[in-house]
Symmetry: C2
């Protein structure tokens, strides 16, 4: 049980964490801060936070749990702004989708206090943004990746691990490098592709007519294109080397399919599609997809 959560960034991710923690009876009081005071006020009106702080350091004062839920490029400045308020009994976490840049930012901002910070990535999200969509169930049943560095304090890692498990997460630990390589493949590149596809269609004169005919396959494929621009701008820039690496693999696989189509090699084409279909069907039946 935590006495006070300082929630820095009262959007979908942060708001959902606050609601989940409250529902689980794991926090007595939530003090929130957002860059926009309108957002903080909305979070308070919705009961996601109990009190609105006028600044990040004031939100942290008196807290024993701090959650950063801001675009990853804002990590360093946010941590710098609260550093003076940090105390040894505090647990500090983030929810960013990249981890190498976040741990580098934490090292620079927190210096000898970096051990309090447990880098976290909950593999969850929605195609809508804003505290009005905050959902106590967002993290339930989802993966949560912890990417500790050597200086991360072991008791803090254990505390974070137990906390996310209490919210229903499957907790895994990876190095920041392993994390960023994996999520370039299964999340960052898919987002980039979905953004490109939407822009590609929208830029065509017949784009609106095309979209008016689209069905459930398109709905699911393109859902992630509606993700928050500020969040994904930061993710794609922060992890650009790994994303570029995955892009090369993807373009190669695409060219292989394209060559079979162009040559009318239907048997070879079917074999390639079959490989993809089996890979996806196998994944679907794994516990990860539930």
């Amino acid at each position: 049980m935590f006495e006070q959560l300082a929630l820095i960034g009262c959007g979908l991710m942060g708001g959902s964490f606050a609601l989940a923690l409250k529902r689980a009876g794991l926090v007595r009081r939530v003090v929130g801060y957002s860059q926009s005071s309108a957002t903080t006020e909305r979070a308070r009106a919705l009961g996601v936070i109990d009190a609105a702080a006028p600044s990040a350091p004031l939100a942290v004062t008196g807290a024993d749990l701090v959650l950063l839920a801001v675009p990853v490029a804002a990590t360093e400045n946010t941590l710098k702004s609260i550093r003076e308020q940090l105390k040894p009994d505090m647990l500090v976490m983030d929810v960013g989708s990249t981890k190498r840049d976040v741990v580098d930012a934490a090292r620079r901002a927190l210096k000898q206090d970096v051990g309090l910070f447990v880098p976290c990535h909950p593999v969850a999200g929605r195609e809508v943004a804003g505290v009005e969509y905050a959902d106590a169930d967002l993290y339930n049943g989802k993966h949560l990746i912890i990417t500790p560095i050597e200086r991360t304090l072991a008791p803090k890692i254990e505390q974070a691990d137990a906390l996310w498990r209490a919210l229903g997460c499957n907790v895994a630990r990876l190095s920041p490098e392993q994390h960023d390589a994996a999520f370039a493949a299964v999340s960052h590149l898919p987002h980039l592709i979905a953004f490109a596809l939407m822009n590609s269609i929208a830029a065509q004169p017949e784009g609106a007519a095309f979209l008016s005919l689209a069905g459930p396959g398109f709905r699911d494929f393109s859902r992630i294109a509606a993700s928050t621009p500020q969040v994904w701008r930061d993710v794609l820039v922060a992890n650009r080397e790994e994303v570029a690496n995955q892009m090369r693999h993807f373009q190669q696989a695409l060219a292989e399919l394209q060559a079979r189509i162009d040559a009318g090699q239907t048997d070879e084409l079917e074999r390639l599609i079959n490989r993809a279909s089996r890979a996806r069907a196998n994944w679907r039946s794994s516990p990860a997809s539930k």
Copy 2:
């Protein structure tokens, strides 16, 4: 009310049509044929069809409604095989995802009887195949595109239109060319991309580890990769020019995003992602996405 549906191809699409028609009380009897007698037998055992025919022409004998639910490249031979059984009071339809190749096949196969054939594309599907997944609700609330040619008989078009509406479809009419251009953008290219992404990840030594971490964004984006290989082999080959055209648009939009990432032009990148995000959010709130 139809007396007898001849269902040629007792898979997910055909089986779902038979179940929907039965539930709506629009057919008295369903006679099915599939290339594999095991499939036909399973359809009968499941009650999707009432009787199994040993050949396509025998299924059509005595029918007043014929549905082809086979991979599009099989259209011509299937229509040729049943041509002798066709009668002026019959309505013949297909459910293929491409339409130019289907109407060309129908012209060649049916000659002066081509007016009986109403080319149809229900914009529905699932990431599983087989009659065991047949679902009376598959088409309910989905788009249904009719792509008549000049020789398609007007009363047959009206009959098809009314039939699909009775199953809950939003019926639209397009030329085969308009249809294939639109679905290259919103369906065929997305499938090709999803196949390529799965193959790209699966081919990497760490692929299985990457996939074990994937979350709901990946689940939805990649769902269509599990589609039936035989169906999609035919679609991608049949519509290759329009798919190649959409591929050029997509690669251009991707290169534009990539250039901003490489240059670290975060404002420009955010602007491009914002365009995609708004386009997707606007689509989501349209009736088509329901």
